[in-house]
Structures are given as C-alpha cells and as structure tokens.
Symmetry: C2
Subunit: 419 residues, 2 copies
Amino acid sequence: MAKALTREPIGGDPLAGMHPVSKLLKYRKFLKLVFRETRPIAGVEKITLPQAVERILARDFRARRFIPNFRRSNFDGYAVRAVDTAGASKSSPVELSLSGFSKPGKPYSRALGRRECVRIFTGAALPHGADAVVMVEYTEANGGIIRVFEEVASGSRYDDVGADIRRGSLLLARGRRIRPLDLPIIASQGVNSVEVAIRPKVLVIPTGNEVKPVGRRLKTSEIYDANSLAVAELIRKRGAIVMTHPPVRDSPRAISDVLSRSRGRYHMIAFIGGSSAGSEDYVARLVAEKGEVFVHGIAISPGRPTLFGRVGKTLVLGIPGHPASSVAVTVLAACPIVDRLSGAIEDAPYSYVRLHSQPDCPEGLTCVRTIRASGDGATLVYKSSSQLSSFLNSDGYILLDPETDEGNGDDGWARLHFF
Amino acid sequence: MAKALTREPIGGDPLAGMHPVSKLLKYRKFLKLVFRETRPIAGVEKITLPQAVERILARDFRARRFIPNFRRSNFDGYAVRAVDTAGASKSSPVELSLSGFSKPGKPYSRALGRRECVRIFTGAALPHGADAVVMVEYTEANGGIIRVFEEVASGSRYDDVGADIRRGSLLLARGRRIRPLDLPIIASQGVNSVEVAIRPKVLVIPTGNEVKPVGRRLKTSEIYDANSLAVAELIRKRGAIVMTHPPVRDSPRAISDVLSRSRGRYHMIAFIGGSSAGSEDYVARLVAEKGEVFVHGIAISPGRPTLFGRVGKTLVLGIPGHPASSVAVTVLAACPIVDRLSGAIEDAPYSYVRLHSQPDCPEGLTCVRTIRASGDGATLVYKSSSQLSSFLNSDGYILLDPETDEGNGDDGWARLHFF
C-alpha cells in the first residue's frame, strides 16, 4: 500500500500509475522495433497516373527521355549564329537576314547559314547551325532585315538537350509517396502508369461494453463509437485499405472470437480499447497466448498503454480508448507501421510552428498535442486525453520530442504536422 | 526601340518584358477581386461521415448532446460522498462499505447512501448521491470494507455533464473544410451524415501546338502534356470535380470552339497556355469578346501573365504554360477561386520553415518556390519557371509575400505549404 501511495500520477493522466515512465519503451526505440519486426508486404500493382497520387512507388523511376529533347529557346527573339553578332551594340547593330520561323511544335527545318537568323518563340527548337538566341527587345525588324543590338555568346538563352532532365537520371526513388508534382515529371517521360506497392489491409476494431454504433439510442454511461472514425481515416490517408468492425464487447471471448475470425485476412488489426478497465489487458493476454507481444507501454503522451504484437502473420496494435490517445497512437504507431508495410522510405515532411502557449509534456515522453494553426503561429486546442474537445478546430498537431533540442516546445517553437 | 532596350527582364523570367511589375495587380488585390467577382455556388448535398472529409461544411454543426451526458469518472477507484472522506489521511483512513460496481456501459443503479462507496472504473458513471472519486491508489480493500487514505473535495476526479462539450455549442462552423478529427466530433453527437457544399466543376484545357497527349510519338520540338496533371490534381485536392480536355491547338478557332462547347457546363475553365507565343492572347481576346476580363497580369512569380475573367456564368482562368508557372497559378489563383465557389471560409493552414538557402524573389512580387522539407528545414528545389526539374523531390512550396514582414524569406524563414 505504501508503494501504491507513492505512485503519483503524472500530468493528470489516469493511466500514469499503471504505466510508470521508467518502464516504457522510448518512442525512437519503438520505431526501431517496428522496423525490425515488420517487413514491407510483397506485391506491386500498376496504376494510371492521377490515381497514383499518395501511393508508394515500388520501383525507381528513371528518365527515359531528355528534357528538353531539343535545344529549346527560353525567349522570344531570333535564333542566330553567335559569331555573326560579334561587336553588335546599341550604337552599332549588325544586320542579319530573316530566313524563317521556329514555333513550338513547328520547327524551322533547314540549317542556318552565315548571317542568317530565324524568328523563334519561347519553347521552340533552335535550328541547326544556330547556337544562341537574341531577345526580341534587342532587335529591330525591317522587312527581311533584322538589326541586332547586342552581341551574344554561343549557348545563350536556350536550354540544351537534357538541361532540365537527363536521360537515365533518377527522378523518383522507390518508396516515395507520390505527390501531385510527381505526376508531370512522370508524364513528361511519356509514361502514364507506374508500379506502386499494394496497400496494406487494416481492420479497426473498437471495443468496450459502453461503445455503441452511431445512431443507436444510448443508455446512461454509454457513448457513441467516435474514435474508430478518426483512427480509420488517418490510417486510410496514410495509404492503407481500412475496414471498421462494429464495436466489440469487453470480454475475452468476444475479443478472442473477432481476432480468430480476422487474423490472416488483414496485415494489421488495430483494437481501440474501450475506456473500460481490463479491455486492453484482454487484448494483451490474447496476443501473448496466441502470438507475441513486442511491447506493451510506450513513452508517448497520450497513449502510454499502447500494445504492439503479432498473431500469426497479422500485426496487432492495441490503441488506448481515450479520444486523444487513440489519435496520438494512430499517428505515432499505426501510421509508421503502415509506412513500413507499404515500403515508404520517408518520414512525413514536417515543419515548425510558433506556439502561442506553452504545451504541457511530461518529462521523458514524446507528446502529441492538437493545435490550430493560425496566421503567425499555432494555438493549442488540446485539453486532455479523455476530452473530445481536444479535437475542436484542430488542423494539425505538434510533436514534442524529448530527444531533440529543436522543436521540443521549450523555445516556443515545435514540430508541426497537419492532418 | 530605346524603350524596349530598357525593359530588362527580371529574375531571368522571359515574360518579364511583356508584364512589367508596375502594371501587375498585387496578389492581395487579386484575392479581393476573386471575392468580389465570384459567389459560392448554390447547392448542398448530404454525405456520410468518412466521405465527408475534405468537403466544405454547408451549415453550422452544433452539439445535440452533452459530452459526457453522465457524470464520468476520470479514474479507477471508488465513487464516494466527499463529506464521508472528511479528515481521511494516510495515517487516519476512513472506512466505507462497498455497495457495488459502476463499469462503463453498466452503471450502478441505486443511490449511494451515507458511508457507502461504489467501485468505479475510468469512463463509468457516478451513481446518484456520489460527488467525488477516490483513486484506487489511495485506498485499501478488505472484503466489503474500503479504507480511504485521502480526503476529497466535492466534484473531484470526474467530469460533470457537459464538461467536454455543451449541448447547443458550435462545434464546426459553416465553411470549414472537414478534417479527420472532425469525424469523431460529429459521430459523438450520434450523427453519421452532414450537409456539405456541392463541388465546383472545373475543366482544365491544355493548349499549344507542341503539346501532345502522353503516349503519342513526339516530333522535334513537341512535348507531352504534363502540366494538366499537376493543375488538375491540385484543384481536385482542393475539392473540385475536375475534367481534363485533350490538348487544344493554338488557334483562335480551336480555342473559341472548345470555350463555346464547354461554357455553362463548368463553374470554371482553366486554360493552360502552351509556352508558344500568342496562345494566352487568344484566350484573353476571346474572353474579352464574349465576356469580361477581370485582370490580365498578376504580381506573382512565376505566373505573371495570368488571366482571370468570365464568359457567361463560367469563370475563365488563363494559366501560363511553363511547368512551375502553371503550378504557382494553380495554388495562388485556381485554389482560392475553388475555395470561394465552395464556400470555404478559411485559408489553408500554413506554418514556417527554415530555409537552407536564400530564395530569389523579385521585388514587389508574391513568389511561389518549390521546396523539399528535410529534418530541420527546407531546401529549395526550384530552378526556374520553365524547368520541370523544379518539381523534383518537392513536397511543398514556400510563399514569399512582399507585403508581410514575417515569413518573407529575408530572415531565413518562410511560409510553408505542403502539397
């Protein structure tokens, strides 16, 4: 009893007592564990371009063509032989004879002779023999005679073949999450489909006797299953195919049944614990019995009692049931697991944000706090792990990492991720 | 001619000569023009929850229920009458008799009598008569007698009805872009569909004689239509229904034909100019003839020659054809127009990023520069408006606004938007 009395809860988190910080796995070690215990799933599919956005590229994508694949004028003006402009100036122009036009898609077909020039437009091909472009602003046309007021060096004002993209160069690396601006890069190569990793399949299972499907009439102390929507959507956005199971009762039997029925059909099953005592333990006990518990308790806030293990080939994640805990564990644990399964090689990009108020993050924990980004900074909207209002007006979260000096909130700045 | 000679191009942009900065509409004035000349489109649709993400809420969403709608324990322990714990301490506990259990979803049904307590779990309802929770750590059970080692005040360690969310309070405002964490807020109210604005319909039309569909065999000086993919995807992500037209030739006839056929069927038509001279002028001339040109030339880089007007009820956007210009104009012009049409009331949230190198942004212009976010900052990947390689490895862009002191890049920090 004396011992129990000294287990002071940290930061008002009701689970602190059950999960003292010293026994928790550091978040970075958890990420290493994910890397060690899981493998990218085998399987690739070919997908046409607009649909490929947000998918994970399964093969390096290399340039098949030079861009430009002709010498492309960067200006409107005249294609010339640089040597013919020698000595030209405002006071002493040289005169060239106009031989024709080169327009985008309609090149001049002959070679440029001595003291000839060709009217050329931005994006059009330089004719053979030409090695520079004089901007139209530095010229004067008089019928077929073009007066040139500047001397240009060979190679001026056009892009050489491959100046933008060289054939054979690596354009997009395997494991990249395809972004909107990757589409024109791929299309520029004359390619309209790419091979991407197949999506991991994830089943989200809300648990808890008090958790009822939306729309049902509630009795006292019952709540609607709200968490599974956020958990599923965040995992879906990360690239998984997500199914959501109706709420499952808090009993070893009910949880065992759904686990047995579902394992093998999904790459990962994510149980969302009811807030009821015991539910997480049922999941932990079952996973230990039927498979392996990798970790139970991670140094994150909220979300300490997170469980990660495997039954057969199916990964199992036990997500605590408080609303803000379920979201924190989804972004900190479920999403990195999905990334690993789909072979994504990059962190989600992040940035920094100035905080309008000081976040409360218990010593030694990696903290997720919901924020609203506004004009010149971010306002914390986080209340506590159990408060749904921690989500009100949030458009992202800050990640406070005790293991970095930078962006840990101490200096009023923090790492920001948008939802 | 003397005049032409003084029109020195700015920042190497080939279009600078055609569009001197002094004649361009400031970007903020452009946004005001968008607001003035366009109206949210009428029309609302009801949509179920997971699908509602990224849609624009058409009506204020207010709380229909209190959360919690019962007095919810925040801890595992014992529900007590605070008065019964008066004077309790480690050395001098009080003894209460255990009358039953309150579990989540399974409340204790009777009222608590004098010197009674009820074993309660996190998330469970306080019984009538109880007005505090003693944490289990501060108790000792001995059969039906519970020794309590602390005095608690009335109201301790539970959430009162409505402590999280009050019935009638505004949860999500009309015009909000629905985010993943809005889903549990809506579901917590027992609601599984919301009314959202209908999506604006946008037609993207690439133009240029040199622009060919992906897959076609190219002749010298021809290029693949790559821009339309990025433009369409960015507008689609912003919430519009986007169709892409095959490339259209640079002729007044061809452009007039497609405009006549399409107007009235879309809320906006976005022409992407070929890089060929003249194409933008055809669009501008046609819009002026058949409707109204609001502006031709905006103080943005890249993307100066942007055109915005209307033909009948259809808005027309003329997007310059250089790859980086088309993306900049999409994020700076097309997306705000789509936001306005769909009634979105907020700016896209942004943050700041530390720049690893100094961006080049011509005086007086609002600049968009592609970047790669990496660990502790951002690396510019932007080359020039005409270079497709400006997109390589980009995951966002910085927006350099000459009209703000902050985040304009001068101090090594800039506003960051992710794609």
